[in-house]
């Protein structure tokens, strides 16, 4: 397959292919490589043959392997994907097969290439504009009066982020004191449950054991719910209560364990 393709190429094209191989480091990823390869088709990107392109790419990868050039993983991932695309494009569509058709995938790839090329062109246009400090210039003498009335403190977002990053890397990820405000510890829950459980002869929703003032704020409620549940498990282990839940996500109920079963 590969030989066949190379036979069709002119000397110039072969030289170009060689150059591509040698320059593999110069490519910015598989999409960039595909874009370069697509130029050899000498057609508008909208009219490109994705199938030919896939074949070219696979040949390229093959050639690079022969030359024992180490390829980054994403080039190989792209190769695998293109091999898949190629088979989809070549084989008659299988109606039982789910997912996008080969043509859809090919169209998207063509879109990606066209978009990347468009961004490159846009970048070139941008860089070619009359730029400050090169074509257009700012005022050389800015007014610098010595009578300074106020001191203006500046800081930008970057300073702020750097400052914060500095602190956070210094004492790495210690839990913060304010977290405790909203944390109902298991010890607290256990203590509370021990006091209440003696009165619970009937099945009662565990939620009714949440302490006052811990049910409105979601964060507090979450913490209290978790610790009350954990405390219930602990009490059940101790044989003080029994727990039941009818089905997944239904309310969890507890009641005092009767000593005699």
């Amino acid at each position: 397959m590969q030989e066949e393709l190379f036979d069709h190429q002119s000397v110039a094209e072969r030289v170009q292919a060689e150059t591509l191989i040698v320059d593999v480091d110069g490519f910015e990823g598989p999409l960039d490589l595909l874009l370069s390869l697509s130029r050899t088709q000498k057609v508008d990107l909208r009219k490109i043959s994705v199938l030919d392109l896939a074949v070219q790419y696979l040949n390229f990868i093959e050639k690079a392997r022969e030359l024992r050039i180490e390829l980054a993983a994403d080039y190989l991932v792209m190769a695998a994907w293109l091999a898949f695309l190629k088979s989809r494009l070549l084989l008659p569509p299988d109606p039982t097969m789910a997912g996008p058709t080969g043509d859809e995938l090919a169209a998207h790839l063509a879109f990606q290439l066209e978009r990347l090329q468009a961004m490159r062109d846009a970048a070139a246009k941008l860089m070619a504009r009359d730029r400050l400090g090169r074509d257009r210039f700012v005022r050389g003498v800015t007014e610098d009066v010595t009578r300074r009335k106020t001191v203006h403190y500046t800081a930008n977002l970057l300073d702020l982020m750097q400052g914060y990053a500095r602190i956070r890397t210094r004492d790495d990820f210690r839990p913060f004191v304010m977290d405790r405000d909203s944390v109902f510890t298991m010890e607290q829950a256990l203590q509370r449950m021990r006091g209440l459980i003696g009165f619970s002869g009937h099945w009662t929703d565990i939620v009714s054991y949440l302490p006052d003032g811990w049910t409105d704020d979601p964060k507090k409620r979450r913490s209290a719910t978790a610790s009350t549940f954990a405390a219930s498990l602990e009490l059940a282990k101790e044989g003080k209560i029994v727990i039941r839940q009818d089905e997944i996500f239904s309310p969890i109920q507890i009641k005092r364990a009767d000593r005699d079963g």
Partner: protein, 222 residues
């Protein structure tokens, strides 16, 4: 100065005088000056917008011109005279191809997340690339995308516009054509739901270059 201000409570200075003031203010600053800033420095009752527009007209075809950058105004030398200014030329660090492309993608697709930049370039964006653009003050961190993970987005800065001689991001070269060709769309790969960008095209379109959009806050989970 106090005198001037007191006087101005009764009557704003004539427009010709206001033009002189704006001229002086613009000449004194290397950075673009906002109308608000001008108004704050000029006597009460002044209309800097009218004055600056007059000034702009006055400098048409001259060696320097009055240009607008977003909501601010500044004076820059005429681009055709750049050759005279070799001494003032700022040697800029050569930007890598990756940086230039990333810059263009941010400019044309803003607000754009890192994942989206990577999807367009088909390759990971290195930390240094983004750093370099942030350092140049050409891009900045914009709003968070209201999608899973709430990724930060990047947008271009006033400094970027000033550098490339653009009044605002809508003036980017070829923007309309690119948009018409559908090349600024965030088209997901067929069959793939891999990328976390469930924004519809319409939303995205709205989002483009529109900073004023109020995004819904995340609702509490409970």
């Amino acid at each position: 100065m106090d005198d001037t201000q007191e006087e101005s409570l009764f009557e704003a200075p004539p427009i010709a005088e206001q033009e002189r003031m704006v001229e002086a203010i613009l000449f004194a600053s290397a950075e673009p000056v906002s109308l608000r800033e001008m108004a704050g420095r000029m006597p009460h009752g002044c209309e800097p917008l009218i004055a600056v527009k007059n000034i702009q007209k006055r400098y048409e075809g001259r060696g320097v011109s009055v240009v607008k950058v977003q909501d601010a105004w500044t004076i820059r030398t005429a681009p055709d005279l750049g050759f005279l200014m070799q001494r003032e030329t700022v040697e800029t660090r050569k930007l890598s191809r990756a940086a230039i492309e990333t810059l263009a993608i941010v400019a044309y697709h803003q607000p754009v997340s890192r994942a989206e930049i990577e999807e367009i370039r088909g390759v990971a964006v290195s930390r240094g690339t983004v750093d370099q653009l942030l350092e140049l003050d050409w891009i900045k961190i914009g709003r968070r995308r209201q999608t899973p993970g709430r990724p930060v987005t990047f947008v271009v800065t006033e400094c970027f516009l000033d550098h490339f001689g653009l009044e605002n991001a809508r003036d980017l070269p070829g923007l309309k054509e690119l948009r018409a060709a559908g090349l600024l769309e965030n088209r997901p790969a067929p069959g793939a739901e891999a990328l976390p960008e469930p924004q519809t095209d319409a939303e995205l379109q709205e989002n483009l270059f529109d900073d004023a959009i109020e995004e819904p806050e995340d609702g509490p989970l409970y």
